[in-house]
Symmetry: C2
């Protein structure tokens, strides 16, 4: 049985710290268990009372007449350890510590939390919290939480599961879901996560037959592998995961670090991991619930395209714009389909969006023909109907309900959405037919685009392959020549070049290579050569090579007097092609990652760089390339030739395997520029940084 099953659906539960005063957390939690429909046995634990809120109470869990499935602990922090021991003595294996006063308060709370973690492990107890808001399972009437929401609202039962670290975040999500009529299957807040974390909660919700869609929110993450595994499991079972990770900006990340003490990695790495594992990242709670709403009611669009039928030309255009911006194409209908539309609605304008004009209101019977014709006239993953205020009109609305029903029956795998002002009764009737209803046209489009993206991500998701650790390189630092030799050995194409220690030597090499050549200073101590003028391009003859040798050595000596200079590299000058940057880095949570971007100012000025987990297989390398605008340049720019994308894919795969195989030693690799040419590609420069304490070279 999944360890979370007893936290969501216990047959019996102890409330340690139960109180008669509903203003106190232990009183409020007991009240929620008593009053909101829970059918299991409730055991209030209170050191001094024999009865609490009308229920018989016990001084300790150890005294209970049975071993409860789970326990909620709401005592002050300093009493929690004793309560855990009592639970262990009684054989309780599933405990939620709702008490605060642990690591989040700093000081001795940190040590108390570490002790709590160790205590649970020693007893074989699975533990949620501390400092968590508890769990709910509305279909079971189970509300094991002190959330203040429950004083005024009870989230309705449904199929959306919620897993968050933050309790307020989670209760905000299920509160708003409830107000909108979106039902909840289970929700849990994992708090300080000494044991159960959001990843494990997601894992439970994937297995839970009562959950159809998962909403998750993270503030930090320490177990990257666990999170990847849970998300991939969801994708494999086609259960949508819509996820937020706060701290996406520097200010936010700093605040999150203060708040949770977790490491802030590169936010785009998080993006990449979520995407690769088939989860949709969103940036607001409202967007999360909009997508969850669509996914919980309707099929996810099988293709990223949309049809739009609107009683208003203006709103039709608004929705077409919103589709394009959100990544849904709006293909024009085939002429025959358009003829069929015009046969029943002669004044209908456009080819998609179709503007039926407001006169549709008087001829609602034609909507079925229009919608069927649209679906026949293009491969549409979704179809939107903008119907103004028809959803408020119980006299008129039933006239078109049949059209929606027919469309859903004939196109069971397409997403059909109604956009209109509406009353709850109309909305509920449509939802029962699998038709989501929105008031705002743009939100409708963005939600469906999210569902469409989710479907694509689920299809593409695949585990990151394991890579055996290679023999240690035994280097603590690598100069440019060594770095290039290493990546060449790893299978990357590298420009032939030669380390020269004298001007004569350089001239002889250049003569052999042919002109023009490139010359670069060679020194372990000067990783960023361009900054000191340490690169000469387009050197045209032997004379220029000789004087260039002196120039480079002099510049290096004056800019970095302490640097050990190893001479000058001479290489053929490459022309044409596009300069890209490929590299790897080590994320503190998710391990080795590959990056790709355009060279020049694109990476830094436009942040046009994409990440993926290492190692890459060709399919994911292709997607990594497509995630950057650089992909456009590779197709040929302004009539130029298309470039050797296959060579780039090979290089990315090889580099990623290299980084993954040496993950113990290598911190990052930067191949910049990596020139992609009409035929072939080559690394023009390379830099490898090793992890501290590795290799035999100088300490870094």
């Amino acid at each position: 049985m999944h360890p979370l099953e007893k936290m969501f659906r216990p047959r019996s539960i102890a409330v340690v710290g139960a109180s008669g005063d509903p203003e106190k957390l232990g009183g409020r939690t007991l009240l929620h268990l008593k009053e909101l429909g829970y059918q299991g046995r409730i055991y209030p634990i209170n050191v001094s009372a024999t009865e609490v809120q009308g229920l018989p109470a016990w001084p300790s869990v150890a005294d209970l007449p049975e071993t409860p499935d789970s326990a909620l602990i709401l005592l002050p922090a300093k009493h929690v350890a004793k309560a855990i021991d009592d639970c262990a003595a009684k054989g309780v294996k599933h405990v939620q510590v709702l008490s605060s006063g642990f690591a989040e308060e700093g000081g001795e709370g940190v040590a108390m939390q570490a002790a709590l973690a160790e205590q649970a492990r020693a007893h074989g107890i699975r533990l949620t919290g501390p400092n968590c808001l508890g769990s709910i399972s509305p279909p079971d009437g189970f509300f094991g939480t002190f959330s203040s929401l429950l004083a005024t609202a009870k989230p309705p039962p449904g199929s959306v599961g919620v897993a968050t670290q933050s309790g307020a975040y989670g209760s905000h999500i299920y509160a708003v879901a409830g107000f909108r009529g979106i039902g909840i299957s289970r929700a849990i807040a994992t708090g300080n996560e000494v044991d159960i974390d959001v990843a494990e909660a997601i894992d439970y919700l994937v297995e839970d037959p009562g959950t159809r869609v998962i909403c998750a929110s993270l503030e930090g993450c320490s177990n990257g592998e666990g999170l990847r595994r849970a998300l991939l499991k969801a994708a494999a079972s086609r259960k949508p995961v819509i996820i937020m990770k706060v701290g996406s900006t520097e200010v936010g990340a700093a605040a999150a670090a203060t708040h949770t003490g977790s490491l802030a990695g590169e936010d785009r790495v998080i993006d990449a991991v979520f995407r690769e594992c088939g989860a949709l990242r969103v940036s607001s709670i409202e967007e999360m619930l909009d997508v969850a709403y669509v996914c919980s009611i309707a099929p996810l669009p099988p293709v990223a395209s949309a049809g739009i039928v609107s009683v208003s030309g203006g709103i039709g255009v608004l929705m077409a714009d919103a589709c394009i911006e959100a990544g849904l194409s709006v293909p024009p209908l085939a002429t025959e389909a358009l003829d069929a539309v015009r046969a029943v609605q002669p004044m209908a304008g456009g080819r998609n969006p179709i503007d039926t004009t407001a006169q549709l209101a008087g001829r609602l019977h034609v909507i079925e023909t229009i919608s069927q014709s649209m679906m026949g006239g293009a491969d549409l993953g979704a179809i939107f109907f903008y119907l103004a205020h028809l959803g408020r009109d119980l006299r008129r609305f039933p006239k078109i309900e049949g059209a929606f029903l027919a469309l859903r029956r004939n196109q069971p795998d397409r997403t059909v959405v109604a956009v209109m002002t509406h009353i709850d009764e109309v909305r509920q009737q449509l939802e029962a037919q699998g038709v989501p209803v929105f008031e705002d046209p743009t939100r409708a489009v963005r939600a469906v685009a999210g569902a469409s993206g989710l479907r694509r991500l689920q299809t593409e998701a695949q585990p990151i392959p394991d890579v055996e650790q290679a023999e240690p390189l035994g280097l603590g630092i690598a100069n440019e020549a060594q770095a290039k030799a290493l990546i060449a050995a790893a299978g990357l194409p590298v420009l032939p070049e030669h380390a020269c220690t004298t001007a004569d030597d350089a001239a002889a090499v250049a003569d052999r290579l042919g002109y023009p050549v490139v010359m670069k200073i060679l020194s372990d101590d000067i990783p960023h050569k361009t900054e000191i003028g340490g690169v000469l391009l387009n050197v045209v003859d032997a004379g220029a090579v000789r004087s260039g040798f002196a120039t480079l050595m002099n510049r290096a000596r004056s800019a970095r007097p302490d640097a050990k200079l190893d001479g000058v590299l001479v290489a053929p000058m490459m022309r044409g092609g596009v300069e890209t940057i490929i590299g790897t880095l080590t994320d503190p949570v998710f391990g080795p990652m590959v990056m790709f971007g355009l060279g020049g100012v694109a990476v830094e000025l436009f942040r046009d760089v994409a990440f993926a987990s290492a190692p890459l297989m060709p399919e994911r390398a292709e997607r990594l390339i497509d995630a950057s605008r650089g992909a456009t340049l590779l197709k040929g720019w302004r009539g130029g030739p298309s470039l050797d994308r296959a060579a780039l894919v090979d290089a990315l795969c090889a580099l990623s395997r290299f980084a993954a195989a040496h993950r113990g030693e290598i911190d990052s690799v930067e191949v910049n520029p990596f020139l992609v040419r009409e035929s072939g590609a080559c690394a023009l420069d390379a830099l490898i940084a090793f992890k501290p304490g590795h290799g035999t070279g100088k300490p870094t």
Copy 2:
């Protein structure tokens, strides 16, 4: 009196085409006038009835006992002309034609619409429509419209004015506003706009003392000057205008063109014009209403910074991220302010966002000290309170109302926002104190950021100066040398270069200029030289110049056998600096516009180009530069020197004056690249396109 006054607030009104059947548009409109609170005199006009819906009816406006302030015409299109004549005969000067069947249906509708426009002009009648939804003025109980919304809901009176072309768009806006409790002052849909357009409606709403905020939506625009004038008038009177223009994508623009027949200019020109005129462009109706809501209740934030107080660390971080992404800084509080916060709430974490922890719920009295300390600890334009579910709790909420009141009183020009789940009663109480209330944290932030942006735009807005038309240039086409001579005469720095007709000539020029040099083919028939290999960079000596001359001529001859070749340009090779593109274009609606962007792939690959109306004064030129990422490069890149921004500003101003002074002749100018250097700047290439039919050169 403003011509729209009588369309919004008539003391008497004729309904031409009034019907006893409320299913018909003429029946429904009459019903709305009769039943929803209108206090003026209503005259049903019906050719055959003496009484309609219990009111005495007349066969024609001409027969009425008085001249009504305005008339609504709801007859079939073919009868509208007669009704207009009747109105004219009676002296009615303000008419709204709600009938459809005009240009929007094509065919003879187009001619009928042209005739209608002419007829109104001839009679001196101001006309809204045809094909419009009419106007409403909820504070007057006036609903001169057949909108189906009114069957179930009546927009409440308030201070938000709405001006749209599309009727459905407008009624969607005021419907949703009403559901949210946002009251409407006036709303009008202008339909096919033969006379009154959205710009004139905005002009009215600026003058209207009952309107505090204006929401507008356009599908097309034919009167660019009128729109600029109305928006600038709003900005000058500090009345916020929140505006949408659909057709922002290619697909949307094509659909809008089908729908309205209007020209689709460059969407970023629209962006620029709205911004320059102080209006905030938004992309969804919900966003429009969110910003309007804040502006209608609270002061606009005077600085673009925010403080965040949250009972949840996670939501605080979410909001900090949202602030940064929306352009609001989140400055850390000064230490003394932080100490003051901790003095009353010791467990509070962070420096902004402040995480009070959920324990705030039990100590609500400290919120006043916390908020006052925050405001004292940084220059904050706005302060957000995330309070979980406190807004649903009538027992607890009143405990903090005083804190909001005190904050509003002590900081009357700052925006104070509550974010929480809530009931209407709590929301209304706070709104009455000038505090907007949101449920979704991200929407709250984006709305306030919109209000903040609006305030900045209003402050910056200024009219585009008039420029006297210059003497005609008398050119129909200009080769590169002529184009450079023209922009040099206009005051732009241009590289010294020389047209050479022989290889010897070129070598002699190059010797004089010094090496290396740049060589370019010179021909009127080859505007895009790089595409045919018509540019040689870095030519190092006289021999190379001679062979380069032959190379260029041969390439040009083989690529464009018909081209007339004027020789080769020789110029010094410029190194260093940043290549930018500056140029002008002629927008079909808004006239001459200036553009600025980075050279290379940035403009096309990243669409990193910004527009502004010509002519520019230095202040707007600075903003134009800052609107592109190129601004970052000018500050010095990777430790490089900062570049001569002043020279760029001068060039942009000079080029914009040139384009504006020759707006009759010149269609576009492209100076690409325009090299901005450490000291000075210079145009390396230039291209001028003339309007068809202008000048003495070849026809284009």
